[in-house]
Structure formats: structure tokens, C-alpha cells
Amino acid sequence: MTAPAVPQYTKKDFTSDQVVRWCPGCGDYSILSNVQSVLAEIGVARENIAVISGIGCSSRFPYYLSTYGFHTIHGRAPAFATGLKVSRPELSVWVATGDGDALSIGGNHFIHLLRRNVDLNILMFNNRIYGLTKGQYSPTSEQGKKTKSSPMGSVDRPFEPLSLALGSGGTFVARSVDVFADHIKPVLHAAQRHHGTSFVEIYQNCNIFNDGAFEQFTDKVAKKERVLYLQHGQPLVWGSAVRRGLVMRDMKLEVVELGDTYTEADCAVHDEHNRSLAMLLAAMDPNAGFPVAVGVFYQIDAPTYEDGVVAQAKASIQKLGTGDLARLLGAGDTWTHT
């Protein structure tokens, strides 16, 4: 069977007719635009793409794409997507979700999806706030965050979403930022190429309820000085005015300035296949002088859930033959009454 040729798409082919209903200035716009471009490039026919979301500003995503889309209920998108992908493995399935949707109410489905390694892509728009419900702190809000529901500051320690994903057995874990136009697309492509569950955290500015949450490293200057772009096999260095790097000491990362004492050669090298390194990178505290890392933190090959399911179905047919109704009904001991 040869697959039918996939049309040459442009970004516009992935734009739906629905009026976009995010606040002007919301970071979701740029993510949408990037995803539309990427979908046009992945070589999958539009009808074979399904985007599943939960509830939240971010979860309105499917309405604005001209693919199949399912805006489900809060937190459960991974479960719907699993059911869809397992029964239709040939589809390209994407999950659009928010920090609240994925990590608060949806936390259980999220970790189980990663554990099972169903081949789909999770895009989690992390604005560190509940946008749609008008600004309560979320499980990724920094401790002490003052919101309507935490007037004296939140008491909860936040999740590190990437650490959680790694601890859950995630096989592809990456991060990008809404406004990093050149960065977000390659990360999404890598996610799409990965066979297994790809988790991409996308920092996203909610300019209404949590404006500037990522500003300390997204503004023009900071972007150059405080962001570490991860590249497999490349040393962990960053900065343009001042060049810095990460060296490994006692299984801990340390920031050093490059120059006479330290050079690139002293720096740790990024290894996408090393989960411990990924955990260290995910745990870096920008308030303690560490950079913010973006890119692919971790990626390994592992069998996918739906491949396992399909293989068992095939093996079963091979062994028992395609199910036959008469045999089904008449299984076990039967007798005839005359």
C-alpha cells in the first residue's frame, strides 16, 4: 500500500474559520502561528491530524486549526487522546493543554500517558496561572505568588514540569518559549519525529493575569544572556556579552564564567539520552544564577503503547484466526436440546 501523496501545505491551510478568542497580546497567538507552520511541514495529510485539548484558554487551541479537533473536559485530554490513538494508530495526534489542565486536575492522566509512551505530542502552554478562570495560582506558580485565591502568597511548592515528566518515565521532554520564534519550530518538529509520547513545555505569557512571568529571560537582552539553548553533543554554554558555562561537580551543575580559568572544554556536554543530566537541567533555578534551558532535554527510544497493542492483536489473529462469530457464541461446552 502506498500512502496517498500529501499536498504541499502552507500555514494558511491549517488556519480554521473560527475567530480567535484570546486576549490581545496573549502568548498563545504566537504558539498557534508556529504550530500552524509546523503542521504544514510535517508531511501529514490534514485529515489525519487530530488535536485534543482539555479546558482553559490554551485548550481552545483546536478551534483555530483546520484539522480534526476535540475540545474535551478539564484535565482529561491525555485519556481521550490515548483512546483515539490506540484505536487509530495511523493518525497524528496532538494534545494542547495548559499548566492547570495538564498538571493540576489532569496530573494523573498526564503521568500515565508518559509512562505508557503512546505516540503523540503534548504541547503544554505554561503561563504559571489559571487564565480562563481569571487568575488563580497554578501548580507551576512560584511559591509566594499573590493571586485572588492566595492573597498572602501561595504556600504550595510548584512542580518542575519537566522533572515530573522525567520521573513519570517520559521518553521525550523538551521546552520552548512562546516568543522564541526560531526555536519553537525545531522543537516541535523534533517532538513530532519522536516515536512515543513527546512532552513540550512552552512558556507562555498571560498578559492579563501573569504578565511578564518570563520576561527576565525573554526580553531582547536577557534572551541572549540568560538562555541556554540545548544541543545534543554540544557543551552547555550560553551568553553573548558574558560567556558562561555549566560544569559538573559531584553530580551537581555549577555556573562558571568562561575565560582564563574555564573554557568550553571544561563544560559539561549535553547528552539527550542522560536522564540524570536532564533532571539537573530541569531543576536549575534562574534566581540562583542559572540560565533557563530550552530545547530537547531528554529523548530515548522505547516501544510505544499502541505498537504493543497492535502487535498483540496481530499475534492473536495469527494464532487463532480472525474472530468468528459462530465460534464466539458456541465457545466452551455446549449441548443440543432436541
Binding site: G83, L91, G323, L325, H337
Partner: protein
Amino acid sequence: MSTLETASEVVIRFAGDSGDGMQTVGDQFTRTTALFGNDLATFPDYPAEIRAPAGTRAGVSGFQLQFASHDIFTPGDLSDVLVAMNPAALITNLKSVKRGGLVVVNTDRWTSRDLEKAGLASDPLTDGTVDDYHVVKVQIGNLTRGAVAPHGVGAKDADRCKNFFALGMMYWLYSRQMEPTEAWVASRFKSPYKEANIAALQAGWSYADTAELFHHRIEVPRAEDLPTGRYRNIMGNNAMAIGLVAAANKLGLPLFYGTYPITPASDILHHLAPFKNYGVTTFQAEDEIAGICAAIGASYGGAIGVTGTSGPGLALKGEALGLAVMTELPLVLIDVQRAGPSTGMPTKVEQADLLQAMYGRNGEAPVPVLAPATPSDCFAIAVEAVRIATTYMVPVIVLSDAYVANGAEPWKLPDLESFDLAPVTFRTDPEGFRAYARDEDTLARPWVVPGTPGMEHRIGGLEKENITGNISYDPENHELMCKLRREKVQRVANSLPPTTVYGDEEGVVVLGWGSTFGVIRTAVDACRADGRKVAHVHVRHLNPLPNDLATILRRYDKVLVPEINLGQLVRLIRAEYLIDAIPYNKIQGQPFRTDEVMARIEALFA
């Protein structure tokens, strides 16, 4: 020598520790009896614990079986014979034995320690407790050990064979054949356990024969009044599984079963899991919510999504079920009811989820609700649920229960052609496609699956504009949609056959649903035999109720509604028809007994 007598029906009950294998011998007796050609019905009754402490009352596991030479509907109220493997089994089961009935006790387990574990201050065999019964004492353990010794099985393992010794005695008593069980043992056990179990079985038989334990041997001729055809013995959960597969296969759809294990629904999963070559995918989800959501995801993708659970799980699925209502996708949700509220009594029967099934979701979210009447009816109900779900594009709830799910009865294999289903067609023509356009008859919207070119569209849980399926906050549209969703469910009633009225045209009508079918039918027969004018109406469709139901019920002076709850169908009937239907409730984790229902009917004539 003992004489051979003929009986038209017999009720027998095995009781012992959870670890004594009572369910196994119950199943074997059932199988043998079914193969022989009796009609039968079974009632396993076991504790929630895997192995409750040996010898205690809480640890007792029971299995009751009625078999007959004619059509029967229940496993019987009181048993003719009880096999009690220890004092706890005796004391907890004695009240379900007929006065004068036979009680076989395993006296090997009759030490003062055993009595103490059973919470007995004195020995019931000597303190007068069993005076009204015919007691036969057998050292089952000892005799079994002797019988299996030649096969080199140690004492502990030997003890595990004693259930087969007991079974052998019963086979002798009721003139059953041993071959089916011997074959089963041979296929299930490895040497030396195979030989040991068979030896125990044969030893039980021989012991009964030679020790002249029983005054007479009983024969129950095969049931001649059963319709001709090929039969098998089937449990409700198994019939449900097969029904789902059969319906999906008939429609040419893959079946996706998303579920989380829970007593007493887990066996549906266990039965479905091996059917991978039938296009069945089972998904053991992380919880009940993921189970239903994955099933809806699969339905969205063009499979028939099914989810199964028991009461607490149904509570968890309410929100997602509402999404299926809103997105008008087909889905079958099976709730094998158990005694609640909360964790309740997980292995016991109850019918108290009806109103939850009707209303357990936010907003106006009506769904069709069905209930099987008997173990084998689970097959037909599963097919019916799939029919309704795919024809009307709605989620459907099936209310099974612990009694029907674990009970067994002979099932006449349906003619493969007899349950033909209208074929399902996915819409593939983009011309004029609207996601919420409606079929004139059924009001169903088109089923369009991802992968279909040119028909990409978005659905979700926000209110939809009729026809287009766009999000809509329009006030009139919302009212229209609420009414359309209700009307769609209501129209299912137009596809139902006329309601069967069994019995008299006047007097009292007994209205039942679900697993009380058998006991009500038996009680109605008995009352009619006593000269009362009584009818039995059984509804398999709880929502919508049949179109002709009100007219039928109004023909009678009194409407009695027995239910294993505090009155749920009766509330629907009263609200719907303003008929002064009379509730009759028992909520004890146990099925009704025939005499109870009879007495209640009789009281209406007083």
C-alpha cells in the same frame, strides 16, 4: 440400598472457607448439570476479602444452584441440601436450608478451635441447632487425604482437593456424570494435582455409594420443555462481553473497552481481553475517568467505545458522560451495580444506581438506560445498547448487577441472523456536511471520523449550535438543543417492540426491572396458581420507558414495584404517569425470595 427418586427441581448449596474452592465445585456442578440438559440458575455469594481469616463467618463463601426438569427463573430460595465445610459455613448458611433438608458437614473441621473461630459458644451439631435437619457427618478432609495419598501429594495440597470429594458425593446423590469434571480437571491441573483431584472426586462418589450416607438418590430429568437448539451455560458478565463483541462484529466496528477493575464488573474485562482477534482492544486505564474518556476518544475515532464499572465508578464517570451527551457520540457504559452507598458491600447485589444513571450528571443530560433481566439476557442487552448508541448517536447506560453478573443459566445460542443490526455508515461526503445536521427519524448527527478528507471539524463540550455545530451562547439555541437531546432519547421508544404482559389482564400488576425478573415471574406464577389475578410486566428499557407502559399499568387496580433499593423505578413511574404505584423494597445485599414477593402480592388482595 438407597432408593432412586425423581425430583422436578433441586436446590443445592456449597459453603466453606474462601480458600475451600466452593466456587469451583459450584461451577463444576453447574456445568455438568447444564450439559445434562437441566434448566438451572446459580447464585454465588462470596465475601469481599480475597481470603478472609480461615474458619470465620466473614470468610464463608457460598454457591447456590437450582436445577430442574422444567423452565426455572431463580437459583431458588431455600436449598434441599447444604454442604458445609466448617462450623462457620454451617451457621451462616443453615437459615437458607429447607426445614428437614439435608446438611452434609465436614466433621474434620469441628474442633473447639474451629467452633471458636466461627464465634460459636457451643457445638451446633449437638446443641439443638440442627434438630430440624437431616445431618450427615463426613470426615471429608481425612477421607480426601487417604484418597489422594497414592498420588504423592502432600498433606497441605491434599487438603486442597477436599472440595472435589464433596462434589463427588453430590454427583452421586444427584446422579450426575463425572466425566465433564474429570476432563476439566485434566485440562486445568498438572500432575500430580490432576490425578489427586480426580481421585478425590471419585472417592467422594464411591464413599457416598458404599457408606450409604443418603436414604435415597435423586434424579432430576432433563428439561424437555426448553426450546430446541444449541445451548451453553453462561454467566452474566460473560454474556455481556460476548454480546458486545457480537454487536461490534455485526456492525463491522472495532470494539474498544476502556475500564478500571472493580468488583463485580472486572470479569467483563477479563472476558474481553482475550478477544483480540475479534477486533477487541481492552484498555486497563489508570482510573474510571480515564476509562470512559479513552472509550469516548475511541468512539470519536470510529470504534464502538465501551466502558464498564460498578457504582462508585459510575459516580466518577458522570462528567465525561455529559461530554458524550454534548458531542453526541456513541458509547456504552455498563454499570454492574453493587450494594452502596460508598464502598458499601462490594460483592452484594443492589439496584440502587437507577436514579444515578438517570440524573448523575450536571445539566440536562438524558441518556438511554437499559437493564438485563437474567444472565443470558446480558447478551441481548449488550447488542441492544450498541444498536441504540450507534443508531441515535448517544451514550447508553446498561444497569447490570452483582446477581445477574455472577449468576449463570443455560443459554440457547442465538441465531446469528437473529440480531442483525442496521449497518453503521461513517459519513465521508464533504458536500453539504454539517457536524450537527440531524437524521429526520432518529435526530442522530453524522458520525465522521478523523482521517476523512475534507470534513475536518471541531467538537467539544461547549453548547453547540444545532446543524452547524459551532459554539453558541444563543439562548434559543440552547433551549432547542436541550430539547433535541431529550427528544433523541425519547425517540428510542419508537423503536421498541410492544411491552409483553405476562399473566392476567386485570387485578394486580407487578412491575419489575433488572435481575428481579426471575423471582417476580416465579412469585406471579405461584400467586396465579393460587387463583389470584396477577400480571408481570418487566421493563428492560428504563429510559425511555416503553410508549405503551402507562396504558398497560392503568388497566390494573394496583401496581406493585419490587426493587432492591429504597424505591427508584417507582419514583419514575409516579412522576411520569401519576400512577399510585406501590414500592416494595428490600435492600439487604440479597435477592428477593419468592415467598417474600408472593406474600407482598397476596397482601394487596387483603
